[in-house]
């Protein structure tokens, strides 16, 4: 085999041909260079599948991370309450919208090699940068609590409820964060979390074991019908909350920062799009599978399953479709919660590191990126501690955090569009007019849904309207 041609000159697209003295090199540079060398060899050797394998990661992780424990329980609850109908194509539509937003985050990360928090702070001022970071910190913390509760729901299927399940869930969460952080470099962290994320497919056999009416699912996909019946306010709230949660702030922070940390360059944007598209398709399929699994309970009183985050769901599915289906659903919840926990805690570390200007890479030694590693661990530890507090208002915290995340989402999305359209930063990779129009329409829809969700929640909780 002939050796690969010499690498491109240092400086790439933005550095130009001027030979500048090299800045001091760090461990982060050396590890990223090794990863890029493999990409370079695969590209020059025309090994397309190997190249794709090397470049996928952040897109699949972010989309499967969005299929988190609470989301899968929410899809199953929606199926149990309203049946398949409208929501099968609706899930597909929400992931199509998520793709448009996340593709921009990936592209900005690959072209600028900088994270979202850092760019917003430097380009649009400290107040916006810190607002984004503090919003992210708060909503991430609460989302992590919900992830651990989802893990607890899964664990409780095997061990029964009570403090043992809560303690074990907290232990699993913190241990996973510590284990993945100890791997020492971005590539290993990404591959380990990807291996875990693939298990999101457990919801597919659950759907199959419930023996759904596939013809009805295909009809729903083609016709967006039947439109669900029930309280119009509850339904609108459900649709608004689902659209409003199509993209969450952590997803944007994570994918942009992870793309930069992975070392993606403008040459890799096409593969970054494949990665994001594959993630969106897989997440939509697995989300629809959870909905179909839940829909098995539609005519069996599934809508009446109550309790925080549908705690009785694995048992109900087990009773309807067999213990194997119940066990797979429970394992799926543990997996979904765990992957989201890892991705969300990483996004917290990235955001704080970027805003403070400290090291923020999995390729950095913990000594040189203490804030990044510390925030990653601290946010998981605090969330684990909260779920073990007896009588903590977890439901109220989770619901209001969800509303707050959707209210602040327009801020995140508008800045993603501004960054992706910024020709000084992006050069020829900046958004085209058509792309801006599409993204603008999606952001307007997501923002309107988020605002409607917040206002509706306010009116409901203050009893100004009925539920």
């Amino acid at each position: 085999m002939s050796p690969p041609p010499p690498p491109p000159p240092l400086g790439g697209e933005l550095g130009g041909a001027v030979a500048l003295p090299l800045p001091p090199l760090t461990r982060e540079d050396r590890l990223r260079s090794r990863d890029r060398e493999r990409v370079h060899r695969a590209r020059n050797g025309h090994r397309r599948l190997h190249l794709l394998w090397l470049l996928i990661g952040p897109g699949i992780l972010v989309m499967l991370g969005e299929n988190d424990g609470p989301s899968m329980l929410s899809y199953a609850t929606t199926g149990a309450t309203y049946g398949i109908g409208f929501f099968v194509p609706f899930i597909l539509l929400t992931f199509a919208m998520a793709y448009v937003c996340q593709e921009m985050a990936m592209r900005v990360g690959a072209v600028t090699h900088r994270g979202y928090g850092q760019l917003v702070l430097q380009r649009y001022g400290r107040s916006w940068g810190w607002l984004a970071a503090i919003d992210l910190l708060f909503t991430n913390l609460v989302t992590l609590i919900a992830e651990l509760v989802a893990i607890r729901v899964g664990v409780a299927y095997f061990l029964g409820g009570g403090t043992l399940s809560a303690q074990l869930s907290a232990l699993i969460g913190v241990a996973l964060v510590l284990l993945t952080l100890s791997l020492g470099r971005y590539w290993r962290w990404e591959r380990m979390v990807l291996a875990l994320a693939v298990l999101n497919c457990l919801f597919v056999p659950v759907a199959i074991l419930t023996h759904p009416h596939w013809g009805a699912a295909a009809h729903a996909l083609a016709t967006l019908s039947p439109f669900p019946h029930g309280s119009i306010n509850t339904l609108l709230l459900l649709i608004a909350s689902t659209i409003g949660a199509t993209v969450t702030p952590w997803m944007v922070f994570f994918q942009q920062s992870a793309s930069a940390d992975k070392g993606l360059t403008p040459h890799d944007v096409r593969h970054g799009r494949y990665d994001t598209l594959a993630g969106a398709l897989l997440a939509a399929i697995f989300g629809i599978a959870a909905l179909i699994g839940g829909a098995a309970l539609f005519s069996h009183g599934g809508g009446s399953i109550s309790g925080f985050l549908g705690a009785a769901f694995p048992q109900a599915i087990g009773a309807r479709a067999g213990q194997v289906a119940g066990a797979l659903f429970a394992l799926g919840l543990i997996e979904a919660g765990a992957v989201a926990l890892l991705a969300i805690s990483a996004s917290t570390g990235y955001a704080l590191g970027e805003c403070v200007g400290a090291g923020n890479s999995f390729n950095s030694h913990p000594r040189h990126a203490a804030l990044f590693y510390g925030a990653n661990i601290a946010v998981a530890v605090v969330a684990a501690a909260v779920i073990m507090i007896p009588g903590a208002p977890l439901l109220s915290i989770a619901l209001n955090a969800n509303v707050l995340a959707t209210v602040l989402l327009p801020v995140t999305l508008i800045f993603v569009i501004l960054l992706a359209s910024d020709r000084e930063l992006m050069g020829r990779h900046a958004n085209t007019r058509a792309r801006n129009l599409t993204a603008g329409l999606i952001v307007a829809l997501v923002s309107a849904a988020g605002a409607a969700y917040a206002i509706d929640s306010f009116l409901l909780s203050t009893h100004l309207i009925g539920g």
């Binding site: 900088r114 380009r123 909780s461």
Partner: protein, 68 residues
Amino acid sequence: MATGSAQKSGGREQLIAYLERDQLAAERSAPLPRARLRRSTAALLWALRVAVTVLGALVVYTFLVSLG
């Protein structure tokens, strides 16, 4: 001595030859200039400030009511 230094420098360059210059950790942390905003963008950001303040207050109020 000079040969050793040149080898060290060459090794360093070889090591990071696969990176774009602005991928280096030192370059990534270099500050960027503030964006020049058009009037319409500045107005949009102000509208965003107002919307976030109002809706954020609604959420906080809702949370307090639900606790109470």
